[in-house]
Symmetry: C2
Subunit: 320 residues, 2 copies
């Protein structure tokens, strides 16, 4: 089962958004256009637009209005990826060279700036000022998250709370905002759009934990980059935190730095997979998903609610 | 006569904005706080907040409301400076090491991102959606300007139109937006806030041309960086374009690159100052100022209008 089968009834609208995304980033500046298109064509799940659309379906769904929010949120996500790759010094994303690798850090910086600025233009089609407040708070948190992520690199004494706060800023808040802003753009009542925010937050947490698990359990072909890349770059994710509770494994992990060889990394991955780290990380992801599903139960039943439930369940099971 | 004497009746409000700016960028992340404070303390004329306040005086001036717009616009300006310094690879600004020089490009990138995100938060206190549309269009243009500026570096065959379009995006649009948004936040009628936009645009063009002249005519002590820095970095400004109309001078100028020595640069500066380039650049700046002053005449007379006129005149005469 592929993810996009879960919301096939939205296909026409998703296609429309894909076209709009392409138009949004096309620019007269060739280097900018090339870098942005490169990014767009590298693909992605477009999970934020999907959440925007499905949440808007709880209200007066007008595609011409809601599509702007969907485009804006995907653009913000894309902009943050380009800047993240500069911060992480990442060479590959989804099997493609990153903008900073294909061009350089400066191109990546201004490409991100431009995409981000374009997202703001799309958002101004929404007159509700609450939507803008929610989004700007979210963006500040995402930025702070970027910075904390650097500070936390190779900091092996960090705890679960540090990790959870980091993935909240990195992923969960923007997915939560996607749900809530999609709903607000369709005049969904407050008590419902606040629940959609909570749903998005919990799904987002589960989504990122799953991503962090897959970094160890998926293959290089599936990931589009070597397994264990996160740890290599010093990102201490949930499986690593659990694995470090084993004193022997911890001694190996805290040696990891940019000079660690692939063979050394593969040994750590093998040991980590033999420990209970992956299983425990799955369990925490599942707890977030269960919360998300419980929140959904309080919402009116309809086809979009079913799709949200299916997506949440899919996230808990996805293999890459 | 100092610039801030021209609007001394705003002193209390300007001081309030200065405090608010400091609060806006204080963050729990030490590296972010240090980089942002470094930037704030390097100073600047705070010309955008001044234009916001003076324009708001044409309407229902409420400092608690208008200060958010003033802070937002100064923050956007600051964020663009930090990213500009990455793009220009600049070591000094206002005599202080730039963020990218004191820390590195990555810190400069995320410091800019953060300051920019904070500016959006301040803007959301303004409910008028037109204000957000104007601002987001302006930001897109500023970003495009950043990129075109790179493309245009050391491109000696560019023309006056390229230059004017570049400084419009780099400077004039944000000053125009400062005037218009200040006015909108104080419910100034459309026919007046549109004129204030035009006034700001023309003053902004004159301001940037003057800046570009000073890069050659002011001393290193006044500039806080070596004279001729713009040309050294490949920025072809108005005096350079005029100077290149002299074939002999052109042959020297088109040799300039990053390896040009200080002695070679000083020779070019001397020759440029002997040509009519500075005088002609001043004349164009004066034309923009005259247009700005003509627009002001159409606005209601009051103390703030007088201050705007004095500032415009000051800009035409400032020595650094």
């Amino acid at each position: 089962m592929k993810l996009n089968m879960l919301y096939s009834f939205l296909k026409a609208d998703i296609d429309l958004i894909e076209k709009e995304l392409e138009q949004a980033i096309s620019s007269q500046s060739p280097s900018l256009r090339d870098a942005s298109l490169h990014l767009l064509q590298a693909g992605g799940k477009r999970i934020r637009p999907v959440f925007v659309l499905l949440s808007a379906k709880f209200g007066h769904y007008e595609i011409e209005k809601v599509k702007n929010v969907a485009v804006a949120l995907e653009l913000i996500h894309m902009a943050s990826l380009v800047h993240d790759d500069v911060i992480d010094n990442a060479e590959l994303r989804r099997g493609q060279p990153t903008v900073k690798a294909e061009w350089d850090n400066r191109v990546a910086m201004y490409t991100g700036d431009y995409i981000f600025a374009r997202s703001l233009e799309y958002m101004t089609s929404i007159e509700n000022i609450d939507a803008h407040r929610i989004l700007s708070h979210t963006i500040v948190e995402v930025c702070v998250g970027e910075i904390v992520q650097i500070k936390d690199k190779y900091r092996y004494e960090q705890n679960l709370r540090d990790y959870l706060r980091r993935i909240k800023r990195k992923t969960a808040l923007l997915i939560a905002a996607s749900c809530q802003l999609g709903a607000i753009s369709a005049d969904v009542p407050k008590e419902i759009h606040q629940k959609l925010y909570q749903f998005g937050y919990n799904v987002g947490m589960a989504f990122q934990i799953t991503d962090d698990i897959l970094d160890f359990t998926a293959t290089e072909a599936q990931l589009g980059k070597p397994a264990g890349s996160d740890l290599w770059q010093g990102n201490i994710t949930l499986p690593v935190l659990y694995a470090m509770q084993d004193e022997q494994l911890k001694q190996k992990i805290i040696q990891v730095n940019e000079q660690t060889t692939k063979a050394e990394m593969n040994e750590i991955i093998t040991l980590l997979k033999r420990s209970d780290a992956i299983e425990r990380a799955h369990a925490l992801s599942q707890r977030y998903l269960n919360r998300a599903l419980a929140i959904l139960k309080e919402l009116p039943s309809n086809r979009n609610k079913k799709a949200l439930r299916d997506i949440a369940k899919y996230i808990g099971k996805r293999k890459y």
